[in-house]
């Protein structure tokens, strides 16, 4: 019997639906007209304007600093968490697993709010460091999940073998475990990097005055309806960067071919 065409058509429509706004944005970034609705001809003037904006450059710098720090810290902690989850199973681990997975589904606003309250009650002043800590909190869970997926097909016999051949625990870890897990850890780190760069809600709650990241700056520009075409240009560049990162992480997460 001929299968129904309906599901396939829906798939195509959904893909178009997913990409249309993105295409629209990129198209508008090259639009001469100030108004998104009218096509005034092709130009790159908004891109030029973009690079004249000092605040955007500064926010980009902040975003990059935070994302780098957050992804490195969550790579270390996330890997440790994945090990703990994979190697030790007990009732405590169930609670641990729950704590790792809750941030994945908890609404951002609750994370932001609770972190803000935590910082306020600790009397910490809000700055780039608090943003970084906040980002580590949610990136960690993602890194742990990615690394744990890798650990599931990890052959711990290799570590045993290294130990039998006289390697110390540290040596075995650095020379055997880490290189084998590196692709997974890096993929988790890249994921953390993109999540950190993209985050708006949590950052908005824990950022102090004057420490804008790119998303919070863009948001306030949108709210004030200021320089909207410049945001289009900026968005297009950010989209391009995201696509590159996705492409790289795709290569990393691809399962490694089995070697003899």
């Amino acid at each position: 019997m001929k299968p129904s065409r309906v599901p396939f058509v829906t798939l195509v429509i959904v893909l178009v639906f997913l990409y249309l706004p993105i295409a629209f944005l990129v198209m508008n970034s090259c639009n001469t007209s100030r108004f998104a609705s009218k096509w005034g001809g092709f130009s790159l003037r908004w891109y030029e304007r973009l690079f004249e904006r000092q605040d955007i450059i500064a926010a980009l710098g902040n975003s990059l600093k935070i994302a780098t720090a957050a992804s490195i810290i969550s790579m270390v902690l996330g890997t440790a968490a994945a090990f703990a989850l994979e190697r030790h199973r007990s009732r405590l681990q169930d609670a641990h697993r729950l704590l790792i997975t809750v941030p994945l589904v908890l609404p951002d606003i609750l994370m932001g709010m609770s972190l803000l309250l935590l910082f306020v009650s600790l009397g910490v002043s809000l700055n780039l460091i608090t943003i970084t800590v906040a980002h580590v909190t949610f990136c960690l869970s993602y890194v742990a999940l990615v690394v744990q997926a890798r650990l599931q097909d990890f052959d711990f016999n290799t570590v045993e073998a290294a130990r039998d051949l006289g390697a110390t625990k540290l040596q075995a870890f650095v020379k055997v475990t880490l290189p084998l897990l590196a692709p997974g850890i890096l993929a988790g780190g890249l994921l953390a990097f993109t999540l950190s760069i993209d985050d708006y809600v949590i950052t908005y709650f824990v950022k102090g005055p004057g420490s804008d990241t790119l998303p919070t700056l863009v948001y306030s520009m949108i709210k004030k309806s200021k320089d909207l075409p410049v945001i289009n240009a900026l968005s297009s560049l950010m989209l391009a960067a995201t696509f590159i990162v996705v492409a790289v992480s795709q290569r990393l997460t691809r399962p490694t071919p089995i070697r003899d």
Partner: protein, 257 residues
């Protein structure tokens, strides 16, 4: 030892998001809790639930056939389709909502086209209403719904559908009576991963909604940043957290029994 020390740190960090109503220092009072009795709040929570439910239903309804179609593709195309679904999910959220704001703008092509077709009135706006919020929310959460459904559909034995048809079921009936129950677990996950984050939605109603579409998230932000009333914002967050955690615990209970 190597495992234990980081574990303690992780416990400490992972615990943070679980403490939404932490004390704020200057003594204790029930004022913030009492403020929850504000008559506008039941409506606010009701609206939040309604908007989230609408979005979830729409997402699932769209994702089911998509997951079905994806699972039936050849492995190469399946991987490509999957990547295509995931990529928008990695692009910046604020930017995507901004794109929608421009698309739905009163002087945009869409509004003009609809006006030309007399589908919307001359002064009707596409932004600032529930429809806009739901459309943009569906757009945002669609990949979240597609992924678990696809993961479940991939494991589904499509031979069962053929069997259903051989026994005389029409395609739609086979889809509803065999396919959907077959991927039940995926449906439950999809509902949770759309519905729960939706409850805390803040950016979308803020950007494409209006005063009539405010959700709990907007109120929390407003209490926080406009009124500078942290305890009240915390009380609201606590209420929202209860709302969010309830379905999660229900699910755990359901799994255990």
């Amino acid at each position: 030892m190597f495992v234990l020390v980081p574990m303690v740190i992780i416990f400490a960090i992972a615990f943070r998001p679980a403490l939404p109503a932490g004390g704020i220092g200057t003594g204790w009072s029930l004022n913030a809790i009492r403020a929850l009795a504000d008559p506008s709040y039941p409506a606010l929570f009701g609206r939040t639930l309604w908007t989230s439910a609408l979005t979830t239903i729409a997402c699932i309804a769209i994702s089911l056939p998509v997951a079905f179609a994806m699972a039936r593709l050849s492995p190469v195309w399946r991987a490509r389709a999957l990547l295509l679904v995931i990529v928008p999910f990695w692009t910046n959220f604020v930017i995507r909502v901004f794109a929608w704001q421009q698309i739905l703008h009163a002087e945009g092509y869409l509004a003009e086209g609809l006006r030309f077709l007399h589908l919307v009135g001359e002064n009707e706006r596409l932004l600032g209403n529930l429809t806009a919020v739901v459309i943009v929310s569906v757009y945002t959460y669609l990949p979240f719904a597609i992924l678990p459904l696809f993961a479940a559909a991939e494991k589904f034995d499509f031979g069962l559908l053929d069997a259903a048809r051989d026994l005389g079921a029409k395609p739609l009936r086979a889809f509803l009576a065999v396919f959907i129950p077959g991927i039940r677990q995926g449906v439950v996950t999809a509902v949770l991963v759309v519905f729960i984050p939706m409850l805390g939605s803040y950016v979308i109603p803020d950007m494409v909604g209006g005063t009539g579409t405010q959700m709990v998230g907007n109120k929390i932000a407003q209490r926080n940043f406009t009124d500078r009333n942290l305890p009240e914002a915390a009380a609201l967050s606590g209420a929202l957290a209860l709302l969010v955690l309830a379905p999660m615990f229900l699910r755990r209970k359901g799994k255990q029994s």
